[in-house]
């Protein structure tokens, strides 16, 4: 069996990318997250997210591939605010993938849940099935006012109305890093690149990397006893790991 055949067969079995390619993971350290929203802005700039305006925001039609959910704990005055940055979890057992009738969303060999905008017919069933509510639909075609279109990222396509979109783990950066690494005949290194959100986080709460590399930060952090998955009881096997707030931080805040 040639390598190609072996790979081809391996791609058809779940968990193949643990052996081949990369397993991209994100770790969110809730101890460090201050809820500043820098990642949200960075994501908006990197991925050409449309600016929907106040009205659409109130209608719950905002476009933020990464949002910071706020939860309150306790009663006033003894009240605490919790932050939960929420982006596509790139589930290994993604409910959104099975339902798309045209396979516009599927798992690629890097363990990413990818979205093919050109294939999407807009049934919106993926968004109905996603338990994390991280899929965003283009209710209208987006437009940018005069100077703003100059800052659009040329690496990322502009989505048309009637198409679903969501966090891609900055797939354009992954592709570029993989290309460069391939030219140099090596695997992608830890510090070759990172996602826009992880790059911009001032308190270094976000860590992005390859879990197939045992030395990477994400592999190390995943062993942390504070690690958990959001809604893990649903068995979606997310790629995003959260590190719960530690006891020490609890008493400090």
């Amino acid at each position: 069996m040639t390598l190609l055949q072996e790979k081809w067969r391996a791609y058809r079995t779940p968990g193949y990318y643990t052996k081949y390619d990369y397993a991209w993971r994100l770790v969110v350290d809730l101890d460090s997250c201050t809820g500043c929203g820098a990642c949200v802005v960075a994501c908006q700039a990197e991925n050409n997210l449309p600016i929907v305006g106040e009205r659409a925001f109130q209608e719950k039609r905002d476009m933020k591939w990464l949002r910071i959910e706020r939860y309150w704990e306790g009663e006033y005055p003894d009240i605490k605010m919790r932050f939960l940055p929420m982006m596509c979890q790139h589930c290994d057992q993604a409910p959104c993938e099975t339902v798309c009738p045209v396979a516009a969303t599927y798992h690629n060999q890097d363990g990413l849940n990818v979205q093919v905008y050109n294939r999407c017919v807009g049934t919106r069933s993926c968004a109905a099935y996603c338990p994390y509510e991280v899929r965003y639909f283009n209710w209208f075609s987006a437009s940018w006012e005069a100077p703003l279109e100059q800052q659009l990222n040329p690496e990322v396509s502009i989505r048309e109305k009637g198409v679903m979109e969501k966090c891609t783990f900055c797939v354009q950066r992954i592709r570029q890093a993989k290309d460069e690494a391939k030219d140099e005949g090596r695997r992608v290194q830890e510090d070759d690149f990172t996602t826009a959100c992880a790059q911009s986080c001032p308190s270094k709460a976000l860590h992005f990397g390859d879990a197939n590399d045992p030395q990477s930060a994400v592999s190390q952090l995943a062993k942390n006893p504070r690690a958990y998955h959001v809604l893990s009881e649903l068995n979606t096997e997310p790629s995003v790991t959260y590190l719960a707030r530690g006891k020490a931080m609890e008493s400090a805040s």
Binding site: P101, V121, E133, V163
Partner: protein, 453 residues
């Protein structure tokens, strides 16, 4: 023109020649009332459906009221509703054919037509629902250069398959059953109608052999259609039940949807029968006893439906899962609670009156009841979508949903499309099966002779 039938309704059995005349009369004679209804229906369809849809296509689907948690809305609800309405038509007709019921003969043609047109409207709602309807053919496994296939794991793809199959089967069933009537119409008409029926009747001459084949083919399709009809709404229910959304993810969904579908379909037949009887003066063929029988069926279905509703809530409640409880709380007391409770009133409480035979044989009451039941069933489709999606897992995203004028208008317009299609149908296809009504008359006559001393 023989209008005796109008003055002495119900009891006098018609003569054989009258049957031909009465039914073909419905094809060729057009009253001003028909033209008015037709004109209004077409106008409403254009104004309330085509124009808002065009607006939605140009601007984007955001003109409807859906938002992020409630990503599905009235369009999917209406889709499920119309698929539901399509049941019973063909299903009832097939079941009654196999069990050899005599009374189906006067109504089954219209019932089957109802099936077909509800399916057409349902498919239209799919087009209205999706974001890019111009690409909807991608869901069909057609050979293409890029070797792209649809996703065979997707319940939506099961749906496409089930609905196209059901549509083909019920259209064929309807057509096969109409061939002798097309021939009768061919012989009774002149001009362009004659040419049209000549094609439609496939050269039917009425020989012994042809009748034998027809009987065979018809029974074959009847047997085929029953499992299809049951499967089609089970599959529609899997669109929801295969998700992990609280309120959708229920094993009861397939029987729930099938029962609901037959329920609303039967109520729809009662409505259509009422109008056919009244405006086509078919009092001699569609008797109050038929309404009585359908009333009994409705009563049984309403009880089943109530039972399944109780099961649905109690399984969620017993799970003691906070997400399930939250969703039940929202359904019973949230923004859509008035709709929920009117659904219970229309579909579970009001139909209990059918226990009295006075209600079942009073046609006006039956009409009102059947309309209420279908309104309730439309509410049910809404409730399933609009009270489950707003309360999904992450409380941060919870939001309410309310339809916009575009959605209301498209809903009204879709009804007008249905009425338009039906009105066109009654002018082209004999809306009552001529040959089977005759058969029944002969049968009865023979019976009477035998019973005479």
């Amino acid at each position: 023109m023989n209008r005796v039938g109008n003055q002495t309704p119900d009891e006098t059995p018609p003569k054989l020649a009258d049957v031909n005349r009465d039914v073909i009369r419905t094809l060729t004679e057009t009253t001003p009332l028909y033209w008015w209804t037709f004109g209004i229906a077409v106008m409403v369809a254009v104004l309330c459906f085509t124009l808002p849809w065009a607006y939605q296509l140009v601007t984007g689907i955001g003109v409807a009221g859906m938002n992020r948690p409630v990503i599905w809305g009235s369009y999917i609800s209406c889709f499920i509703f119309w698929i539901g309405l399509s049941h019973s038509g063909t299903l009832l007709s097939a079941v009654l054919h196999i069990t050899g019921s005599q009374w189906r003969k006067a109504i089954y043609r219209s019932a089957e037509a109802m099936t077909l047109f509800s399916l057409v409207v349902a498919v239209i709602f799919v087009l209205v629902h999706v974001g890019r309807p111009w690409f909807v053919y991608w869901t069909i496994p057609y050979p293409n250069q890029r070797e792209l296939w649809p996703n065979f794991r997707s319940p939506l793809l099961f749906d496409v398959t089930a609905i196209t199959t059901y549509m083909t089967a019920s259209a064929t069933f309807l057509f096969v059953g109409s061939i002798p009537d097309f021939a009768a119409a061919r012989d009774g008409t002149i001009g362009w109608r004659h040419s049209m029926y000549r094609v439609l009747s496939l050269g039917w001459r009425g020989t012994q052999k042809e009748w034998k084949h027809l009987g065979w083919a018809y029974t074959f399709f009847a047997v085929l259609v029953i499992p299809l009809a049951v499967s089609v709404h089970s599959i529609v229910s899997w669109d929801l039940a295969l998700s992990i959304v609280p309120g959708f993810h229920q094993t009861i969904f397939a029987p729930y949807f099938v029962v609901g579908a037959i329920y609303s379909g039967t109520a729809g037949i009662v409505t259509v029968m009422y109008f056919l009887r009244k405006y086509y003066h078919l009092e001699r063929y569609i008797l109050p006893s038929h309404f009585d029988k359908l009333g009994r069926l409705l009563l049984v279905l309403s009880l089943l439906w109530t039972y399944i509703n109780i099961v649905e809530l109690t399984t969620g409640w017993f799970s003691h899962h906070s997400f399930e409880l939250e969703f039940i709380d929202y359904r019973l007391t949230g923004a859509w609670a008035p709709i929920y409770w009117s659904m219970i009133a229309f579909c579970a409480v009001l139909p209990l009156s059918l226990i009295s035979s006075r209600v079942r044989t009073n046609l006006n009451v039956m009409l009102v009841l059947s309309i209420f039941i279908n309104a309730g069933m439309l509410f049910e489709r809404f409730i399933i979508i609009t009270t489950s999606l707003p309360r999904k897992y992450l409380p941060n995203t919870w939001a309410d949903y309310a339809p916009t004028w575009v959605e209301y208008s498209i809903m009204l317009g879709s009804l007008a499309i249905f009425v338009t299609l039906f009105l066109i149908f009654v002018k082209i296809v004999p809306s009552m099966s001529i040959y089977e009504v005759k058969e029944e008359l002969l049968h009865n006559a023979k019976h009477q002779q035998e019973n005479k001393p």
